[in-house]
């Protein structure tokens, strides 16, 4: 913990667990053994040692949201995320400047003060014990022998009211001077010695100091100490029979009014009047627990501790529209996959929501996004024109048509040509427009569809996947076919075959499946709608697109030599041989279809196409396209094996090799004016 906010997060998380344990212990007080009652505090101990908010997870309640909201309200800042580096107070990173820095200093000072106070008290006690005289060994030896317990040096000290064991590594049994200690008192203290209970006392004291300003945890520390004593009582009762147990209860009753040492590294039989009364009630309930109780005790502890250690992660934003709460929710709703980050960004652009953008934005952008969110709230639903968030990235967008009307939500989004880089993923965001940009025309078909593109880069920053736009939103007019969108970047493979340059283009597209069925009101059928709520932990569904084309490089006069063109093509990876193309009978099937022109493909990505070349044909001949779903990440082919046909005769076999190093996410066409 390096600031007051990380301490607040840590202590609140522990408090939630403590409250849960108090309820659980109350429910099982008379049902599960004292051993379980004490051991279950180990869950709280474990939570105190685990940094809160680890990997964006919370325990029981969304404490990170609460702390982030409070921090934003009190400091006016949105661009930081509270992290607990360690569950202990560490020196602050910078000298104190603000009120919150000074508060942290006060807290850390309190920890040091308490630790010092306990250490000094312990040292004083050890010095006092050193001045004591060695106690008579007969009673101690007798108890040790009778019950098979270890021994330690024992001293009698003037002024002590009750016996206690002091020390973990060099324990000493301190006894009141002038009185013959009862056998059962010695039994109790030797059992503390056997099970090293003084060490647990040290641990409890340590956590008490770390969370000295949390009254609930202080109370739990007291209860844990009492449970330790109750456990020791139980161990004593297991070794006694009948009337001896009643005697033990009477001894405890006599200690009700005694003062006791409550120092770290000590364990005392007397621990206060109220506690002793509770221990006597526990003695009255004493029973030997039946066979099998160990199993259910462990099972109950496991179902408690595992969800607490694993934690939970929030995947949706809070419903509150308050800017502080909303932006805190966005910061603490991590995008845990790069697909989720791209999805969240795409939907932020769809809906022009600064809170969605904040989920996948670097912390450095959060202050600005908080301002944009507040603007959205003030402007309300009636806001026309291009809202602030999208406008930031698309300066060409006109103000006359609302953003909601412009984007075609039914088509969703796609991330084209995703490529893994050393420290992240690069891709091209593609959205579909229903209304072309100002001054542009559209036939209403996919042959000249207007798209919006933006190059993006996603990387992990301190555990969160964030998206960095690499350029502005730009309008592109594209020809959408089965083989992809021709105007967008693609991996290209080429080979020259006489007067023709053969080319294959490969594009990949990915999106997080957000389509849902929505029942039509009053009818039994459904509409498929695109859900614009981000999926921050989403995974991609992949599509691959292939197009084959031939570019004529010869003279205009030479064109009359060609009446038809055909191609058989197969993608290859690694060491695959091109002979597979012939073995599958592709050439034979192709010949059947060649005459009338057409195209054919199979599920292996093999394609055949032919085109008649009559009249005034264009230099660039589109032969065929293919699209198909694929397991993400999609691995583009290394090359293509091709058989080329002219005038229905095979002219050769070629291998199309890559000519672009990467599809490059940049837009193909300059922005419109």
């Amino acid at each position: 913990m390096t600031d007051i906010w990380s301490f607040l997060l840590q202590t609140l998380t522990a408090s939630g667990v403590a409250a849960l344990l108090l309820v659980i212990k109350a429910l099982f007080r008379d049902k599960l053994s004292p051993r379980w009652q004490f051991a279950v505090w180990g869950i709280l101990g474990a939570m105190l040692l685990v940094p809160a908010g680890f990997r964006g997870r919370y325990v029981l309640l969304n404490w990170p949201l609460l702390v982030e909201t409070l921090k934003s309200i009190l400091t006016g800042r949105f661009g930081t995320l509270t992290r607990v580096a360690a569950p202990l107070p560490l020196p602050a990173i910078s000298p104190p400047r603000t009120l919150w820095d000074w508060l942290y200093l006060v807290y850390a000072g309190g920890v040091i003060l308490l630790l010092t106070r306990y250490a000094v008290a312990y040292v004083r006690l050890r010095r006092l014990l050193k001045r004591g005289r060695t106690a008579k060994a007969e009673g101690l030896n007798a108890v040790s022998e009778k019950y098979g317990l270890p021994l330690c040096p024992a001293v009698e000290v003037e002024g002590l009211s009750s016996a206690f064991v002091c020390g973990v590594f060099r324990p000493v049994l301190a006894l009141p001077a002038g009185a013959e200690p009862e056998e059962k008192v010695l039994l109790h203290e030797l059992l503390h010695l056997k099970y090293r209970d003084a060490a647990w006392g040290l641990v409890i004291c340590f956590f008490r100091c770390i969370h000295w300003c949390n009254p609930l945890l202080w109370h739990c520390a007291n209860l844990a100490g009492n449970d330790l004593e109750t456990l020791c009582d139980w161990r004593v009762l297991e070794r006694l029979e009948g009337e001896e147990r009643r005697d033990y209860g009477r001894i405890l009753l006599d200690m009700t009014d005694e003062k006791y040492a409550n120092l770290p590294g000590t364990s005392s039989m007397a621990n206060g009047g109220g506690n002793i009364r509770r221990r006597i009630e526990a003695i009255a309930r004493f029973k030997r627990y039946p066979e099998g109780m160990g199993l259910v005790s462990v099972c109950v502890a496991l179902v408690l501790i595992c969800p607490l250690l694993v934690g939970a992660r929030t995947k949706t934003l809070t419903g509150s529209e308050n800017p502080y709460v909303r932006m805190a929710s966005a910061r603490t709703t991590w995008c845990t996959t790069f697909a989720g980050a791209f999805d969240t960004y795409a939907k932020a652009v769809f809906t022009d929501r600064a809170d969605y953008r904040a989920m996948c934005a670097p912390l450095s952008d959060q202050d600005e996004l908080a301002g944009l969110w507040s603007l959205t709230l003030t402007e309300g639903e009636s806001f026309q024109g291009t809202p602030a968030f999208v406008k930031k990235w698309g300066s060409w967008l006109d103000q006359e048509i609302s953003w909601k009307d412009r984007v075609d939500r039914s088509r969703g989004y796609q991330i084209f040509n995703l490529i893994r880089r050393e420290n992240g993923w690069e891709g091209l965001l593609v959205l579909y427009l229903r209304i072309p940009p100002k001054g542009q025309t559209w036939s209403g078909t996919d042959r000249d569809r207007w798209l919006m593109t933006q190059p993006l880069f996603a990387q992990k920053e301190e555990g969160r996947w964030v998206v960095h736009p690499q350029g502005e939103l730009q309008a592109v007019q594209g020809d959408i076919r089965d083989g992809g969108i021709l105007e967008l970047p693609a991996l290209e493979y080429e080979a020259q075959a006489g007067d023709f340059l053969l080319r294959a283009r490969c594009q990949t597209a990915a999106y997080v499946d957000s389509y849902q069925e929505e029942m039509r009101f009053g009818l039994s059928d459904f509409d498929i709608v695109f859900d614009t709520v981000p999926v921050p932990d989403g995974n991609f569904t992949g599509w691959s697109y292939q197009t084959l084309e031939a570019e004529y490089l010869g003279t205009e006069e030479g064109k009359k030599n060609y009446q038809s063109i055909g191609i058989a093509c197969k993608p290859l990876w690694g060491d695959e041989g091109r002979s597979d193309l012939t073995e599958t009978g592709a050439a034979g099937e192709f010949a059947e279809k060649f005459g009338g022109g057409g195209s054919y493909s199979n599920s292996n990505g093999e394609q055949w196409a032919s085109r008649p070349l009559d009249g005034n044909w264009e230099n660039t001949i589109y032969l065929t396209g293919l699209e198909g779903t694929d397991v993400f990440p999609i691995d583009p082919p290394d090359r293509y094996a091709v058989e080329f046909y002219l005038n229905e005769k095979k002219v050769g076999e070629f291998t199309l090799l890559p000519v672009t190093a990467s599809p490059g996410p940049g837009p193909a066409i300059a922005k419109t004016e």
């Binding site: 939630g16 409250a19 849960l20 309820v23 659980i24 429910l27 099982f28 008379d30 049902k31 599960l32 029981l60 309640l61 039946p290 099998g292 199993l295 259910v296 099972c299 109950v300 496991l302 179902v303 408690l304 595992c306 969800p307 607490l308 694993v310 939970a312 992660r313």
Partner: protein
Amino acid sequence: MNTEQNNLQSGLLCAAWGYFFLYFDFSVSTINLLPRFAGYLLLLSAIDRLSEERRELGLLRFLCILLAGWSGADWLAGCFGADLYGYFPPLDLIITAVGLYFHFQFLTDAAALAEKYQPPGAGLDRRLLNCRTICVVSNTVIALCQSFLDGFIGGWQAWALAACSFIGMAAALTAMFGLFSLRKSLVSTE
């Protein structure tokens, strides 16, 4: 028939039917006609009738009321298409822990009654104890899987969970039939 025998028989009958309601569902639209809270109310009735014979059962009374209340609230929410589970995680955790202990201890006490009243060589007490152990282990595994898998259950995890659920249910139904058998043997002894 004396009152004690009467209580014993009716208590065992309530317990057996209670488990029936806990492990069988019959829903019409969103309404479950065999609600779990009815099962817990039957178990509560069983506790009241059997606690004279077995004092330890009285310790389960409050836990049974808690489970009945929670199940009732969940059933009511279910009638409106909602689900209480996951709404307030700390409460889910408490209910899971309480449920685990409750069924373990209830069947342990039922086994103690079986040991006392079963016909010679019937082995009902052993059967109930084994069912109890299988139930608590399978329910623990299911609860742990749900917390580790973070809501994502697919592939082999789904099969493993289904297998665990099936085993736990089979054990609970075996216990239910064991309770019916014990009651039947008491009636025939009379």
